[in-house]
């Protein structure tokens, strides 16, 4: 009822606009805070950690897009993460004098650069490939799986198997990509500066913040419109979507590809900030961990994905430095906790318990229990008045009981 004064005709749009403004301001404040204020508060090491966490939060956004909104649980996002990371690392490894190839090749007796390395000489193409390659791999994998209406746990298992396959491939191919040793980036140079230098790291941190905000906005845009509603529809009842004349396959392929591309960006940003990319980014455990970030924060809320990642990663760093053996127990219980008692994550808990109280303190009416559109619909309001079920104006409506009663009455009357 808070928006009645703003726009009587279309309260939904008004709410949307209001939320949009609030979100925009919050984002700008956050960006300024993270780029301007935080650096003076945190040590260089902490800032670097934050940068890494933020790049992981970007993956979480991608996972939220497919799991929280579309209901596809991917256990193989490590693939896309690593592909992005390898892309940028390959470009950095190629920053050598003319005619030389990266050192590790000589270990395996390779004289000539493998063909797929060549595009990575150019920075713009690399940046493009960091996004495109994971997206294409995701699209192909998604297409062959979704085409056959394979879903649910089958999809999860297949993505996990794909992850194992990529892991095997990357560890097995020393001659192509340096196998288990991975590619080191911290001694390489970009724009004539060593990547691990504080100045470069600061640049990467800024890029990470900007990328996180950009990708948040992208996900926000994708999930708020018709497309987003379709994703949720696929999650809730795919058959009904199909019967309504949509082909869910292409939407699923598209959203999976977008999610893969996002993971690629995150992988690239993470790699330059941690100094190395190895096939261990494609370990089974890491990819499942990504899911827990989203679950802890709250599925189907983008803020939750970011928040969850930061919290879990923070807990991880603190716990695993002090008590390394506790961390896995903690993580295990976290999994059990979020699926049993906290299915909507932290954001869900906040929305259910704390937020109504805060609203109450601030003098707003408690939120409606039905859809806001039902509460604010003038036609329904008129009907309610007709049937004398409208509550007195100074009291908040209790829509669930009263409304359903009124409908029943309506039906029972001849």
């Amino acid at each position: 009822m808070t928006v009645n004064g703003v726009n009587q005709r279309n309260p939904k749009q008004a709410i949307a606009r209001q939320r949009f403004i609030i979100e925009g301001i919050t984002l700008i404040v956050l960006a300024i805070g993270m780029m301007g204020v935080l650096p003076s508060l945190l040590s260089a090491f902490q800032l670097k950690l934050l940068g890494r966490f933020l790049s992981l939060a970007i993956v979480a956004l991608g996972i939220d897009l497919i799991w929280g909104y579309t209901g596809l649980l991917s256990l193989g996002h490590g693939i896309f993460f690593a592909l992005g990371g390898y892309g940028l690392a390959m470009h950095l490894s190629l920053q050598l004098p003319e005619g030389q190839i990266p050192d590790f090749f000589s270990l395996y007796g390779v004289q000539k650069l493998p063909f797929f390395w060549y595009p990575y000489y150019s920075l713009p193409i690399t940046v493009l490939l960091v996004i495109i390659v994971p997206a294409i791999v995701a699209a192909i994998l998604g297409f062959v799986v979704f085409r056959n209406r394979i879903k649910g746990v089958y999809f999860s298992i297949l993505t996990q198997a794909a992850l194992l396959v990529f892991y095997n491939f990357f560890t097995g191919q020393q001659k192509l990509i340096n196998g288990t040793n991975g590619l080191k980036t911290d001694t390489t140079e970009l724009f004539g500066q060593v990547v691990s230098s504080p100045r470069m790291q600061w640049t990467f941190y800024q890029y990470t913040v900007l990328a996180a905000i950009a990708i948040y906005l992208l996900c926000r845009w994708l999930t708020s419109g018709r497309f987003g509603r379709l994703l949720v529809a696929i999650r809730d009842d795919e058959n009904r979507v199909r019967f309504s004349g949509y082909d869910p396959t292409w939407f699923k392929v598209l959203v999976f590809a977008v999610s893969g591309g996002i993971a690629g960006v995150a992988g690239a940003l993470y790699t330059v900030q941690s100094g190395i990319i190895t096939p261990s980014a494609m370990e089974v455990a890491f990819s499942i961990e990504m899911v827990i970030w989203v679950a802890v924060g709250g599925r189907a809320t983008l803020v939750g994905a970011v928040l969850g990642t930061l919290l879990v990663q923070y807990a991880r760093t603190t716990l695993s430095t002090q008590f390394p053996e506790v961390w896995l127990f903690f993580q295990g219980f976290l999994f059990l906790l979020v699926v049993t008692v906290l299915p909507n994550g932290i954001v869900g808990l906040f929305n259910e318990t704390l937020w109504p109280k805060i609203r109450g303190r601030l003098g707003f009416a408690p939120p409606a229990l039905t859809y806001p559109s039902l509460d604010n619909d003038p036609d329904l309001q008129k009907e309610r008045e007709q049937f004398h079920t409208t509550p007195p104006p100074d009291h908040p409506p209790q829509p669930v009981e009263s409304l359903s009663d009124s409908v029943d009455e309506d039906r029972s009357r001849p």
């Binding site: 209406r149 298992i157 396959v165 059990l336």
Partner: protein, 330 residues
């Protein structure tokens, strides 16, 4: 020509041996998945518990002296079954029964359990691998004199094949000849209708989960014959096991058998480079030989097998023997 046949026979034996390891690990998973639609990511850890049980049984029997030390494997099988079944029962009663109808959440919960179990073994026993030595009668192998290449069929491998056959036969008779087996099959086919007819579905679930876990325990006992055992042992088997279930089709014992054997044989033939060796005399096949040589290692064979599985699922998305039904769902 004799060489060719010998090569093929060795390939078949090794393939069946890999396949039987896959099958014995997948058996429990397939039953549980068929009945409850639950993928148990802790299945590998249940195998690991079975393997550790074998280790402890071995230590106890070794302490008892020689006649006992030779038969510990026989005693370890029921012990591993019981330990794993008990843990499985606790898992089902404690966690999974609250999550029915939410398969993805179950998946995550079982992963949490898997992490906890692994760390539990690491802190209580040791993070290092332990060795289970096979008793004397399982060491060595059966020599087959064949022309210029002598073949040895390891007894340990043969024991696993026999154990797998025994498990499959046991599960078959349990499901098809016992009254609880009838109930399990009935709930697998139609849960609601079975409940209406008075079958205690909750008990059936718990029982099935316990038996599936127990079978994982036996699988764990079997894998001790193949190498040392560590907290992460289960992880090496879990994904291959899932592939067996996916390819075989849900809730179909025969499908699991066929898919495990096919995956085992194909994996061996590709991984050992048998294809490359067989084709190398033919000049026109050189590119194909190079192609197979690229995949001739156990890890690269998995890459190839996965591609084949994905290709197979394009033709038969619900596995070799899909469940017949009249829903729009698969």
């Amino acid at each position: 020509m004799v060489d060719f046949i010998v090569q093929l026979l060795i390939g078949a034996f090794n393939g069946i041996s890999i396949g039987s390891v896959l099958l014995i690990s997948a058996l429990g998973l397939a039953i549980v998945f068929g009945l409850m639609g639950v993928i148990n990511l802790a299945h590998g850890e249940l195998m690991m518990l079975g393997a550790y049980t074998t280790f402890f049984v071995q230590n106890i029997f070794n302490a008892l002296g020689d006649p006992w030390a030779q038969v510990y494997t026989i005693a370890a099988i029921p012990a591993a079954f019981l330990v794993a079944a008990l843990v499985g029962l606790i898992l089902e009663r404690g966690v999974i029964r609250f999550l029915y109808g939410r398969p993805l959440e179950t998946l995550l919960a079982t992963w949490g359990v898997s992490l906890i179990l692994r760390q539990l073994v690491r802190t209580t026993i040791s993070a290092r691998n332990v060795d289970v030595t096979a008793p004397a009668w399982l060491r060595g192998g059966l020599q087959i004199p064949t022309g210029n290449i002598p073949i040895q069929l390891p007894y340990a491998r043969m024991f696993i094949i026999v154990l797998t056959i025994a498990c499959v036969v046991g599960v078959y008779f349990f499901l098809n000849a016992s009254s609880w087996g009838l109930r399990i099959r009935s709930v697998t086919q139609n849960r609601e209708m079975s409940a209406c007819l008075g079958i205690p579905t909750a008990t059936v679930d718990a029982l099935t989960f316990a038996i599936g876990s127990g079978l994982a325990g036996i699988a764990g006992c079997a894998i001790t014959l193949l190498g040392s055992v560590g907290p992460n042992t289960g992880q090496n088997y879990i994904i291959d096991t899932f592939m067996v279930v996916v390819v075989g089709g849900v809730g179909n014992l025969f499908g699991s058998i066929v898919s495990a054997m096919v995956i085992g044989i194909v994996t061996y033939l590709i991984g050992s480079g048998t294809f490359a060796v067989l084709l190398s005399p033919m000049d026109s096949m050189q590119p194909v030989v190079a192609f197979f040589e690229f995949f001739a290692s156990s890890s690269m064979a998995k890459v190839m097998v996965f591609a084949l599985i994905i290709g197979f699922l394009q033709i038969k998305p619900a596995g070799i023997f899909p469940q017949k039904g009249r829903t729009a769902e698969l």
